[in-house]
């Protein structure tokens, strides 16, 4: 095995161990909460793979996480944190129905693409304020993107209670179901063309970020603004582009989630933690556009498993959040061991 392959293998191995450690700690919580840890392990690892609906869920989760994590990873390369993917995702989902409700008279094929476009633009608008404030005033984007998550939650709740509430919802805060011609067609077993669509975007971003000067410029900006100044890189422009891409991709993830799977929108969709999970995926993939593909699949698989487990061993589903937190800490620990300790130096041969 060449040294690059060896390095990648060790990083993957360590991160895998980290997540396993997270799960083991989670089992202690489950035991405490009154569930059976053995049944829990079984449920996490085998239940999602043992049925076609489980596999469908993994693919759907993968699509959402992958799209968001690509943007988060890209922004991270330029040294910018998008903690607001959750909010941008929410706005993306809402915008799909804004287009559906207000632009219904468009030609169906046109409307299909307008829905995707509006969701992407919605995500971009949601990140515009933090991006501009960061670039113009140096305001910390972490806190502002976080705050806008809360605002998005209110915005979404308002929208499904009013403007985009369905005509057959009998006053409940839920939208109409999208007609079939406005959703991604199904390939097989509930897996839709949203998957190849997302993979195509992933390939595009991989080429753009890992194979063109743009990606290198972003990395230079992320390393140091001063260096980028000397290198003649317009860092404001890079920062704006990467932030807007992050917001747009999260909005897009909202569109593919609705149009490729859910087909309607209700308040339950605002309480997911996809935006934070995507941060875990971006970290696990070490900001690499290809690495993120695998890490998103892995995070998707583990979280679907954890959610199914919470139901089957009868513990509160919020245990999933706690386990995600521990897994994230585990990933940090593995990064620490690899980058800062002797073990890492020896293993990576640096």
């Amino acid at each position: 095995m060449n040294s690059r392959g060896r390095k990648a293998f060790i990083i993957i191995l360590f991160n895998f161990i980290a997540v396993i450690l997270g799960i083991v700690s989670g089992l202690i919580i489950i035991y405490f909460a009154g569930g059976s840890p053995i049944r829990a392990i079984e449920a996490i690892f085998f239940d999602p793979l043992s049925s076609s609906s489980g596999i469908q869920q993994i693919v759907i989760r993968f699509i959402a996480l992958y799209t968001m994590a690509l943007g988060i990873g890209l922004a991270l390369k330029a040294g910018l944190w998008n903690i607001g993917a959750q909010g941008q995702f929410t706005v993306g989902m809402v915008m799909v129905f804004v287009a559906y409700v207000y632009l219904r008279y468009l030609h169906p094929v046109g409307l299909f693409f307008v829905m995707i476009l509006l969701a992407t633009v919605g995500g971009m608008v949601w990140i515009l304020a933090p991006a501009i404030l960061r670039i113009k005033f140096g305001a910390n984007e972490i806190v502002i993107t976080l705050l806008l998550n809360v605002v998005a939650l209110y915005f979404g709740t308002y929208m499904i209670n009013g403007p985009i509430r369905g005509s057959q919802s009998f006053g409940y805060p839920i939208t109409d179901t999208l007609p079939q011609y406005l959703t991604f067609p199904e390939i097989t077993q509930g897996i839709t063309y949203a998957l190849p669509f997302t993979l195509a975007i992933g390939v595009l971003l991989y080429l753009l970020v890992e194979r063109t000067p743009f990606g290198m410029h972003a990395r230079v900006v992320g390393e140091s603004l001063e260096t980028s100044l000397y290198a003649g890189i317009n860092y404001s422009r890079i920062m704006l582009i990467t932030m807007l891409a992050a917001g747009g991709l999260a909005g897009l993830a909202g569109a593919t989630y609705i149009m490729g799977y859910l087909k309607h929108l209700d308040a339950g969709q605002f309480g997911t933690s996809f935006g934070l999970l995507a941060i875990i995926a971006a970290m696990l993939g070490r900001k690499n556009m290809l690495g993120i593909a695998f890490s998103s699949l892995f995070v998707g698989y583990i979280t679907i498993g954890t959610e199914e487990m919470a139901v089957s061993v009868n513990v509160p589903t919020s245990v999933v959040f706690a386990m995600e937190g521990i897994m994230l800490a585990g990933v940090l620990l593995s990064t620490f061991i690899l980058e800062r300790t002797k073990i890492g130096t020896v293993l990576l041969g640096e």
Partner: protein, 311 residues
């Protein structure tokens, strides 16, 4: 009809009831960030502290014991956070998010476990204290001087943090390790010890914030009760340019907007029921809109979020 004066008194008194949550969390975070450590995990810590307060209060019937319990949990959490970010140099943002997720999930798991054995939860509260003489001042009296004792403690804390940072040599050390850890190290300051203690202090006050949330108003628990208020506290100190007095005024202004929309919805009632979510957005948007005004001159501590490793 509600008279204008009553409405104003209501709004302002609500403001002083809301504000301590952000003041407690903010003062600790000022110290911790001045020393160079951002703790996004205080949101999760506040959730854990609120849960602890609720559980101990219901079991023991003593709100004071409950506060001590919350502080113990806060110290435990902050110590682990300090160990990871200060001693081991973990990424502060991601560690903070991990703590947030953990607190978010674990607090609710504990609550479900607790409420399954204690279906009827009676919460014992600390009664508001009328400050002698001062509470009889017309207008201001009922607003400021007839509050929960923790409200007064939060106001004293602002002054204490201000004096600590600007008038004591320990305060100088905290600022030194955030501005220039290398120079501080050369002067013989143990950089990582100061940072660890700063994080610990930040954790303790965030614990108080969580305890106040229970005792000051909620007296119950549900999933994600803190609902981003810890993050708001982080934003507020940013606008205050890490100044305690300015952070106090920031918290008050923010809460006037929040209290005003609460009062408005209460008075206006069902007419605005459907758009209540839009009103709830206002305080947050107000905060973001203020950045170009107040955030322009904000200058974070130079080594904020940069771990220090002794050479």
């Amino acid at each position: 009809m509600v008279s204008v004066e009553n409405a104003v008194v209501d709004v302002l008194s609500l403001t002083f009831r809301f504000a301590p949550l952000y003041i407690f969390a903010g003062m600790g975070e000022i110290i911790s960030e001045k020393a160079g450590v951002v703790n996004l995990g205080i949101e999760g810590l506040m959730l854990m502290a609120a849960l602890t307060t609720f559980v101990i209060d219901v079991i023991s019937g003593s709100p004071y014991l409950a506060i001590f319990g919350a502080l113990a949990v806060a110290i435990l959490f902050a110590s682990v956070f300090g160990l990871l970010t200060v001693r081991l140099g973990f990424d502060q943002v991601v560690t903070g998010l991990a703590f947030y997720l953990f607190g978010l999930g674990f607090s609710y798991v504990l609550f479900i476990k607790f409420s399954s054995t204690n279906p009827v939860a009676l919460f014992t509260n600390i009664q508001p204290v009328n400050v002698p003489l001062l509470s009889r001042i017309p207008f201001l009296g009922p607003i400021i001087f007839s509050q929960n004792p923790l409200v007064y403690i939060s106001l004293i804390l602002v002054l204490a943090v201000y004096l600590f940072l600007n008038r004591t040599s320990y305060g100088m050390r905290v600022k030194a390790v955030g501005e220039n850890p290398v120079a501080a190290d050369n002067m013989g300051i143990n950089v990582n010890r100061v940072r660890f203690l700063a994080v610990l202090f930040g954790g303790i006050t965030a614990g108080l914030a969580g305890a106040y949330f229970e005792i000051g108003f909620l007296q119950n628990f549900q999933f994600d009760v803190i609902a981003g208020r810890g993050f708001v506290s982080l934003a507020l100190i940013y606008f205050a340019n890490w100044g305690p007095i300015r952070a106090l005024f920031g918290a008050l202004i923010y809460n006037v907007v929040d209290a005003a929309q609460t009062e408005f919805l209460f008075v206006a009632g069902p007419a605005f029921q459907t758009s209540s979510q839009l009103f709830a957005m206002l305080p947050y948007l107000f905060l973001v809109a203020l950045i170009p005004v107040f955030g322009r001159k904000a200058r974070p501590p130079k080594y904020l979020m940069v771990p220090y490793k002794k050479r």
